[in-house]
Each structure stands twice: as structure tokens, then as C-alpha cells.
């Protein structure tokens, strides 16, 4: 019966043999089958839209117009990708996204590391206020922030500017960066810092030579996550960028939709696949760390 356990255990020792062992065995096997069936349903639900997107990206216009669409393209073609680049300034948009997301992720993590350190190691009113802000910032609808932000940035002549959007993204990715980094800072033993101090390290030196090297893996993970968050962001980009040559990937993609909707499915799918690749790549690299980071952040009590 331990094997049919769906109540949250990976494995438990076999129960002692008894008269009902045979019946139990049959039930266990049925339970296993049920679990595999459920898992299969999940896999189908999660995978079929993805498969359809990728398959559409590689289909020829004739095939897309067919009344009996097939799961896989019969004659895979790269035409859609070519058309997508012709129709919209995709390359430019990708560079914009790369620049805005990349710079804002670096800045965000650079300012989040010392702040996270202070919030973990110095128990003060400010640290608690910081934690409060992380939570409250999740609660407010963006519309309440975007209007004043728009007005402030307009006064600074930073509306319709990549710099302005980058600044917004720094603050936008900061709560989660702080949250993740706090978990990593907590994992650095205080005793190491104490040892360095006893050996005569200055405070700045301790941070640089003891804490920072130990934080590096967490730092990289946070950096990638911040990048993905900014790369995928849509709302701020939509409101703050007006000129097509400055728009980011997410915003440019909506141009494919056009007025009458999905008229040109192939290029739309192709561009979408391209827009997902960078985030997917980073996620593949950091998936294990991300799960771990969220857990260390979450169990802080």
C-alpha cells in the first residue's frame, strides 16, 4: 500500500505481510496505473498547446489554410520565420529587449545584493519595512502605479525611452531578486564572517572576499531570473514605448495580431517561438536552482 501512496511520500517501507496481502497488491497496482493515467493527462494538457505552437511555426501557408489541420507539419519550412522578420522589425525588437532586460537585471541584482545582506544580517525597522514592501508591492494593481509613473517619467522626458523602461524594470524585478537573495545570504554561515573579522578583515573586505564568492551561484540564478522577468514583461512596455523602433519583443508580437485578429498564423507562431527561446534557455539552466531558491526564501519563518 505504501506504493499507492498519493498522500505525499516518495517511498515508505513495505507493510508487514498479512492475510490481505494479495488484495493489497492488486489495489497497489491499480493505484499505480491511476497515477500514471493522471500524470499522462497532465502531460497532455501542458504539452499540447506548446506542440501546436511549434508545429504551426513550421507549416507552409497552404497547410495552414487546410480545413483538416494535422498535428505535425507535412513539409516543414522556415518560410514563416523569414516572413516574420520581413513583416516586423523583429531583430531590432530582440536587441531592444536584450538591452533593456540585460541592463536592468544587472543593475537590479547589483543593488539587491547589499540590500538583501542588510535585510538578513541587520535586524532593524528598515529591514522589516523592506520585507513589508516586497509583499505590498505584489498587491497593488499596476494601473495604480503606471499612471503616476507615466507622469513622473514624462516630466523627466523618459517616456518612450528604453532608459525609462529599464529603470522601471529595475524596480519591477527588485522584490523577487531581494526575496531570492535573502535566502542565499541566510545560507552563508555567520561564523565565516566572524572568522574573517578576527583575522583582521575590514567589513568591506569581508563582504567582498568572503560573502560575495559564496553568493555567486545564487547571484547568477537571481540574475537570470530577473532577466527572464524583464524580457517577458508586457504591460509597462505597452504603456511606456510608443515608437516601433524602440518597442520590445512582447510589444512587437502584438502587432502581428492586427485588427482582424490572427490573419497570418504562420509568422505569428514563428515570431512567438523566437521570443520564447531566450527565456526558455535561461530557465533550463536555472530550473533546479530556482526551485531551491524559492524554498530557502520561503522557509525563513
Amino acid at each position: 500500500m505504501s506504493a499507492t501512496d498519493a498522500a505525499g511520500v516518495t517511498a515508505a517501507p513495505a507493510p508487514p505481510a498479512s492475510a490481505g496481502a494479495g488484495r493489497r497488491k492488486a489495489r497497489r497496482r491499480a493505484g499505480r496505473a491511476g497515477q500514471y493515467l493522471a500524470l499522462l493527462c497532465y502531460v497532455v494538457f501542458l504539452a499540447f498547446p506548446l506542440l501546436w505552437l511549434v508545429s504551426t511555426a513550421f507549416k507552409s501557408p497552404q497547410e495552414l489554410g487546410s480545413v483538416h489541420p494535422t498535428w505535425l507539419p507535412k513539409h516543414p519550412t522556415l518560410d514563416n520565420f523569414r516572413t516574420a522578420f520581413d513583416e516586423q522589425p523583429l531583430l531590432h525588437a530582440a536587441l531592444n529587449s536584450l538591452m533593456v532586460a540585460g541592463i536592468s537585471a544587472v543593475v537590479s541584482v547589483a543593488i539587491a545584493v547589499p540590500a538583501a545582506y542588510v535585510m538578513v544580517r541587520f535586524r532593524s525597522l528598515v529591514s522589516r519595512a523592506g520585507t513589508g514592501w516586497i509583499l505590498v508591492s505584489q498587491m497593488f494593481p499596476l494601473v495604480l502605479i503606471i499612471i503616476p509613473l507615466f507622469m513622473v517619467l514624462k516630466n523627466l522626458h523618459l517616456v518612450d525611452s528604453r532608459l525609462g523602461l529599464g529603470l522601471v524594470y529595475v524596480v519591477w524585478t527588485l522584490p523577487f531578486a531581494l526575496w531570492m537573495l535573502q535566502g542565499y545570504v541566510k545560507a552563508v554561515p555567520v561564523s565565516l564572517e566572524e572568522a574573517a573579522a578576527i583575522d583582521g578583515c575590514s567589513r568591506a573586505r569581508t563582504l567582498r572576499s568572503v560573502v560575495l564568492p559564496l553568493l555567486t551561484p545564487g547571484l547568477v540564478a537571481t540574475l537570470m531570473f530577473s532577466f527572464v522577468t524583464a524580457w517577458n514583461e508586457f504591460f509597462f512596455g505597452l504603456v511606456l514605448l510608443k515608437s516601433p523602433e524602440k518597442q520590445t519583443m512582447s510589444v512587437i508580437l502584438t502587432h502581428f495580431l492586427g485588427a482582424e485578429g490572427a490573419a497570418d498564423l504562420g509568422p505569428l507562431a514563428a515570431a512567438s517561438v523566437l521570443a520564447t527561446l531566450p527565456s526558455l534557455l535561461f530557465f533550463a539552466l536555472l530550473q533546479r536552482r530556482l526551485v531551491g531558491g524559492m524554498m530557502t526564501g520561503a522557509v525563513k519563518g
Binding site: A38, P49, P141, S272
Partner: protein, 321 residues
């Protein structure tokens, strides 16, 4: 208190984080519990947060009580609660608000149930677990806009795979226009919301499940507790705090969501999927009514805060009894 202790490390006293700081001049020279070093480290993050998050937020709250408009030359003036009076009678806004609540509740509940199921399965020693695990993370890595576009391709009435499959299975005639149908658009959009939001919830629940003590399960199973009983008496109590926080967060995120529905339906057909965020966005950036839209935002925050307070209080009371 660890602040004082850690700081004194430099002088070689080597106090651990647990010892109370000694009273000295340095210890007293603190602002809000932080000394100079602390402030120096915190400031680079604090300034952007104040300028671009806390400031705009307060400004936004103030705007809700003004007649601010975009591109108007005359000076903005306070008009008290006039925006809220108008809002009270704005039946379109309340309709959108009801849709928003329905959407947020449905998506959050379904997301939770489906993620719990998946997390329980992923916590088992099943083959192909890696596949489900990887797939479960993919939606998280995708831009919202791409998720919307992808499901538009799935729902497409002519070339979409959904209609085609249903037709092959002889379930429908294969001509359903999912996103333009008055009755089907909202459910169709909700499914997308669930799909897109499952990864975070699953990851958090899985992390919670791995904290459930194995010995308790073994003991309960030796005492003859069945599957369901073990879930309710062993797994659930450990998981509950995690469930509370992730559902509360999910509810907030879902209620405030924008991009998915903007791409899928833009609020149509006939306003059937017009979430409050979409409504407020139009009000602000299409009609330029900044003050009025800010008032909407404020009402949204207030209602969410009240709902969450009720939800969390009831749950906490249950815990005590």
C-alpha cells in the same frame, strides 16, 4: 540586535549573532535601527524603490481624488470623492469588476486543485516524472503575450487544433468560435489562466510537500490510516500555511492580470472578458482619464484587501480551533 553584534566584529570581539549588543556610543548612533554601514549598503536599492515604487504609489492614491486628465492644459485640482461618486454609478465598471472576481476566483481555485494534484504526483517515484516536471515549468518561462498567442492558435475556429480534435471525436461539429462566443469566452480564457499560472503554484506546493515528515506517514500507515486519512491528518496540516500564502498571492496576481486577456480577447466579446485592469487601462490610456482610472485602481486594492483579510482570518481561526 545582530546588527550591533556583527558590527563589532571588526574590533575582534567576535560576538555571535545571538548576543545582545553592548551599549556604546556607536550603538546609539543609529537611525531607525541601522548604522552608517547599513544605510550605505541599503541606499542604492532604497532610492529607486522610493522614487519609482513608493512615490508613484502614494502619488497614484492622491490622483484618485483629483480630476487629472492626460494632455489637458488646465491645472489639475482636487475634487474630493467625486471620482468615487461617479464610480459608484458606473455600471460598466461594476460589471467588469464582477467578471474580474469571477475570473480570479475560478482561476485561483482551479490552479490550486490542479497544481496540488500535479505536485502530489511529482512527489511520487513515478517514471517520466522528469517530463511532467519540465513541462510544468515551461509556462513560467514563456512571455505572457506568447501564451496568449499560442492559445489563440489553439482556439482558432478554422485552423485551431481544439475544434479539429473535438470534431474528430464527434463531440462538436467543429465550428465553435471559442473566443467570440458570449458564453464560452470567459471559460476559455479561464483555462488559459490556469495553464499559465500552474508552474509557480506547483513548485511552491511541491516544496511544501517535501517538508512533510516521512516518519509521521509511516506511523499513520502502521496504525492503519488509509490514503485519504493520511492526507488529511498528516500532509494537510504541514502544507496548510504554504497553501494559504500561495492561494492568497495567486488571487491577487490573477485579479490584477492584464496581458493574457489583452492578447486573447482584448476584453471582448461584448465586454464578457473585460477584466478590471483592462477597463482601467482603457480609461487611463485610451480616454486619458487619469484621476478616474486611479480611483478604480484604489477601489480594486480596497476590495482585494478586504477579501484577503476575511479569507486569511477565517483560515487562521480554523487553525486555532
Amino acid at each position: 540586535m545582530s546588527a550591533g553584534a556583527t558590527l563589532r566584529l571588526r574590533r575582534g570581539t567576535g560576538r555571535g549573532a545571538g548576543t545582545p549588543p553592548p551599549r556604546s556610543t556607536a550603538a546609539r548612533r543609529k537611525v531607525l535601527g541601522l548604522d552608517k554601514d547599513g544605510w550605505f549598503l541599503l541606499l542604492p536599492a532604497l532610492i529607486p524603490v522610493l522614487v519609482l515604487s513608493v512615490g508613484p504609489l502614494l502619488y497614484g492614491i492622491a490622483l484618485a481624488f483629483t480630476d487629472a486628465q492626460s494632455g489637458v492644459t488646465h491645472a489639475t485640482s482636487f475634487n474630493g470623492i467625486a471620482n468615487f461618486k461617479d464610480l459608484r454609478l458606473d455600471s460598466l465598471f461594476w460589471q467588469s469588476f464582477r467578471i474580474g472576481l469571477l475570473w480570479a476566483v475560478c482561476v485561483t481555485v482551479l490552479q490550486f486543485l490542479m497544481s496540488l494534484g500535479l505536485a502530489l504526483l511529482l512527489n511520487q517515484n513515478l517514471r517520466l516524472r522528469w517530463l511532467a516536471r519540465t513541462l510544468a515549468l515551461v509556462p513560467w518561462a514563456m512571455p505572457e503575450v506568447v501564451v496568449g498567442i499560442m492559445w489563440r492558435l489553439v482556439y482558432n475556429p478554422d485552423a485551431g487544433i481544439l475544434n479539429n480534435t473535438l470534431h474528430h471525436l464527434h463531440l462538436t461539429d467543429g465550428t465553435t468560435d471559442w473566443l467570440s462566443s458570449l458564453s464560452l469566452a470567459l471559460p476559455a480564457v479561464i483555462v488559459v489562466g490556469v495553464w499559465a499560472g500552474m508552474p509557480q503554484t506547483t513548485v511552491v506546493l511541491l516544496a511544501g510537500l517535501q517538508n512533510v515528515p516521512l516518519e509521521l506517514h509511516e506511523a499513520a500507515s502502521l496504525d492503519g490510516a488509509g490514503l485519504w486519512r493520511r492526507f488529511t491528518t498528516v500532509t494537510w496540516p504541514t502544507l496548510k500555511p504554504v497553501v494559504l500564502s500561495i492561494t492568497a498571492l495567486n488571487f491577487i496576481w490573477n485579479f490584477n492580470s492584464f496581458g493574457l486577456v489583452y492578447v486573447l480577447t482584448s476584453g471582448g466579446p461584448g465586454g464578457k472578458t473585460e477584466l478590471p485592469m483592462l477597463f482601467a487601462y482603457d480609461e487611463a490610456f485610451r480616454y486619458g482619464q487619469f484621476g478616474y482610472a486611479a480611483a478604480m485602481g484604489l477601489v480594486m486594492v480596497a476590495v482585494i484587501a478586504v477579501l484577503l483579510a476575511v479569507f486569511l482570518r477565517n483560515r487562521l481561526k480554523e487553525d486555532e480551533s
